[in-house]
């Protein structure tokens, strides 16, 4: 056997999964498995109680409501890209996700697992930050920026991710992976303009994703006045507070510069 021994639970409903979460000792959730099983093979200090979510059908739906789109936490990255609502309203997501990892990983990894993994290179976290997504847990709803600032929650199951249907008018995205395109992200910056709001989010390499700006087209005015340098200085100052590694800071600032130029050209 490649894997160490553990107790595996396969609930059929969210309620059943939550009951297991509350009753088991140090439970660990297995979503797509691409992070958890990799670490499980390497680590000696792992939970003995694993709860798999693959049999919970209600977590795999994508629904379009009046003002938002709701994505079940167990929707795989590939199914997300192939969904008609996403193709129509969030073609940007398709384009970005198709650059993440490999086809096999995209067929297995889930959006919820990616966001909740707490791993610094989780790409969906900063994408959802730029989209100002709301996370719906069994017992509460919370904005993704608040969730990422919280200590890692282990006891609650993420049900769905809600994204507002505000039309995305412009976007720019730059990602620098470690070795090649399929490798984990070292740094990335995403700029999204929806209506009169511009949101800039970044993946900070060894630190978790952060949102930097939410301005009412302030960015456009500064870009028109050729104030790119000033914008980079503002970004760098904020970045200095959260990323102490000079090498990673340089990578992220370069992502910002590149995204800014793409954004300005559109």
């Amino acid at each position: 056997m490649i894997l160490k021994n553990f107790n595996y639970y396969r609930p059929q409903t969210i309620k059943e999964a939550q009951e297991l979460m509350n009753s088991l000792e140090s439970p660990l959730i297995l979503a797509g498995g691409t992070f958890v099983l990799t670490f499980f093979k390497k680590s000696n200090d792992f939970s003995k109680n694993i709860i798999g979510l693959k049999n919970i059908k209600e977590l795999t739906a994508i629904k379009k409501e009046k003002e938002y789109i709701s994505i079940g936490s167990m929707v795989t990255l590939d199914n997300l890209c192939r969904n008609d609502f996403i193709k129509k309203d969030f073609s940007f997501l398709m384009q970005v996700i198709s650059e993440v990892a490999t086809p096999q990983i995209r067929n297995m990894a889930s959006i919820g697992g990616n966001i909740c993994s707490g791993l610094p290179w989780a790409d969906l976290a900063y994408l959802m930050l730029a989209l100002d997504a709301e996370l719906v847990f069994v017992d509460k709803k919370i904005k993704i920026n608040e969730f990422l600032d919280l200590p890692k929650e282990k006891k609650v199951i993420l049900k769905e991710i809600k994204i507002s249907l505000n039309k995305i008018t412009r976007y720019a995205f730059t990602r620098i992976p470690r070795l090649n395109n399929t490798d984990i992200t070292q740094g990335a910056v995403c700029i999204i303009e929806a209506g009169d709001k511009v949101r800039i989010s970044a993946n900070l390499g060894n630190n978790f994703a952060r949102i930097f700006k939410e301005t009412q087209s302030n960015l456009n005015q500064m870009l028109k006045k050729d104030q790119e340098k000033d914008l980079i200085n503002i970004f760098s100052k904020e970045l200095n507070l959260v990323q102490k590694d000079e090498y990673l800071r340089e990578i992220i600032v370069n992502c910002f510069k590149k995204s800014l130029r793409i954004y300005a050209k559109i």
Binding site: L3, Y8, I105
Partner: protein, 158 residues
């Protein structure tokens, strides 16, 4: 040790199996069903040599618990061609274009190519590179593999 009973269909044949909670799909395929075409190399989801097609999607069998495969339909390299005496067009293209050296990565490569061509029958060179990006080859340098996928696309369209 927890045991689970699963029913899976592999290469068109139904199996009822008993697996442990920690049994991986690659272990079922290789050790229980003795289908050794599927390789287990990095065991970490990075090399793609354990790729199989499960429910019409290419997946890494080293990162899937067998207990989660109940009801799944799986195709391994052994089941790609329906005819025992005839290779699948993708296999033919790999042979014709010399896209094989040691052959260790080839089953995974071919199944990734199958998934790519099933979802995009006429891929561009760039799309082939992206579609095959989950499979590593340490011998060929990829040029012939890309040529083989282009050739397979032509053969399948005919």
């Amino acid at each position: 040790m927890q045991k689970y009973n699963i029913e899976i269909k592999v290469n068109g044949k139904n199996y009822e199996l008993e697996v442990n909670s920690n049994t991986l799909l690659v272990e079922v395929i290789r050790d229980q069903l003795l289908l050794n075409g599927t390789k287990n190399a990095c065991n970490n989801g990075e090399c793609g040599s354990c790729t199989v097609i499960m429910n019409a999607k290419s997946v890494l069998s080293c990162l899937i618990l067998a207990a989660d495969c109940n009801g799944a339909e799986i195709t391994t390299i052994e089941g790609l061609s329906n005819d025992l005496n005839k290779l699948h067009p993708i296999q033919e293209a790999f042979v014709e274009k010399g896209a094989i050296q040691c052959g260790f990565c080839t089953p995974g490569m071919i199944l990734s190519a199958k998934y790519l061509l099933d979802t995009n029958p006429d891929p561009s060179e760039e799309e082939i590179k992206i579609g095959m990006s989950g499979n590593l080859c340490r011998c060929t340098g990829y040029v012939k593999i890309i040529e083989a996928v282009k050739e397979a696309s032509r053969k399948i369209k005919k």
